[in-house]
Amino acid sequence: MADQTISIARDFSPYPAGRTPGDGPFNGQRFRESLLVPAMERAIAANAHVMVEFGGADSYSSSFLEEVFGGLVRAGRFPAPVISRVLRLRTDDPVFDAYVLDARTYLQKELTRTAA
């Protein structure tokens, strides 16, 4: 089975913002639960990767990114090594490099915290 690709702008919203449903309809928790977790489950079953594509969105608030990627580790659905192996964050657009870097930092921070 091929890798799972999720484009945040195309598959979710070009205007993602906030952490929880109280922060707006396109919040991080909703993205994580409705798109990322199911894609992770399919990818794990197929021994594939989940590619999260950042390009095309308006911008990414840090609350959204932290909830999606830090929250993925905190939710405890997948062991930390599995997340590290399966999840790939990428963008073809250099403008979004900073957001990808931030998302990786949130992810890494939680992975380190849970490993400690």
């Binding site: 205007y15 993602p16 913002a17 906030g18 952490r19 109280g22 922060d23 707006g24 308006d58 911008s59 990414y60 608030s61 840090s62 609350s63 250099p94 403008v95 490099d97 900073a98 957001y99 870097l101 931030d102």
Partner: protein, 176 residues
């Protein structure tokens, strides 16, 4: 047939010599003029390219300052519908700044340096981080101030990179 004599032969030789000298002089003159023309063209081209880059850098710096001012107003107030257009302006101008920086870096590689990329990313995450775009966002006075500092740093780093001025490595002695 009468012999023209040595005097006429000498005159012919002198005429040939003078003609040759004139041709050589003309050749030298033409090549000198051509070289000068090419040099002027090259210098003008380099100058216009440099002016073009400077103008684009000035545009980028003005945009950075304007985004910082918009962002200070934005973060200094809680979220309202009236601020939605400001939010859109900030996001659009940030995109423009980043695109402009890439375009400038194609002609002036110092603008695409790793150090400047880090500063640009810091600017981006300060302006659009936190609860940017969240409908129930509260006022964030600290971020409203921080955007001014990161914008100034960004502009300063661009000017410094263009001028070829670099900070000394950490720990290196600084001469005043």
């Amino acid at each position: 047939v009468t012999d023209p004599g040595p005097a006429v032969e000498g005159a012919v030789n002198w005429a040939q010599l003078l003609a040759q000298l004139l041709i050589d002089f003309c050749r030298l003159l033409v090549s000198a003029l051509l070289s000068a023309y090419i040099a002027v063209k090259v210098v003008n081209r380099l100058k216009s390219q440099s002016d073009y880059i400077e103008k684009r850098i000035d545009d980028a710096c003005a945009d950075i300052r304007s985004v910082a001012d918009l962002a200070t107003d934005y973060w200094n107030k809680p979220a309202t519908n009236e601020l939605r257009p400001t939010e859109a302006r900030i996001a659009a101008r940030i995109r423009l700044i980043m695109e402009l920086r890439q375009a400038i870096a194609a002609a002036a590689p110092e603008i695409g340096s790793e150090r400047l990329t880090e500063v640009a990313q810091d600017f981006l995450r300060t302006v659009t981080g936190g609860d940017f775009g969240v409908h129930n966002r509260v006022q964030d006075a600290e971020r409203a101030c921080a955007v001014q500092y990161v914008a100034t740093r960004f502009i300063g780093e661009i000017r410094r990179a263009r001028a070829g001025v670099h900070y000394p490595a950490a720990g290196a002695p600084v001469a005043f």
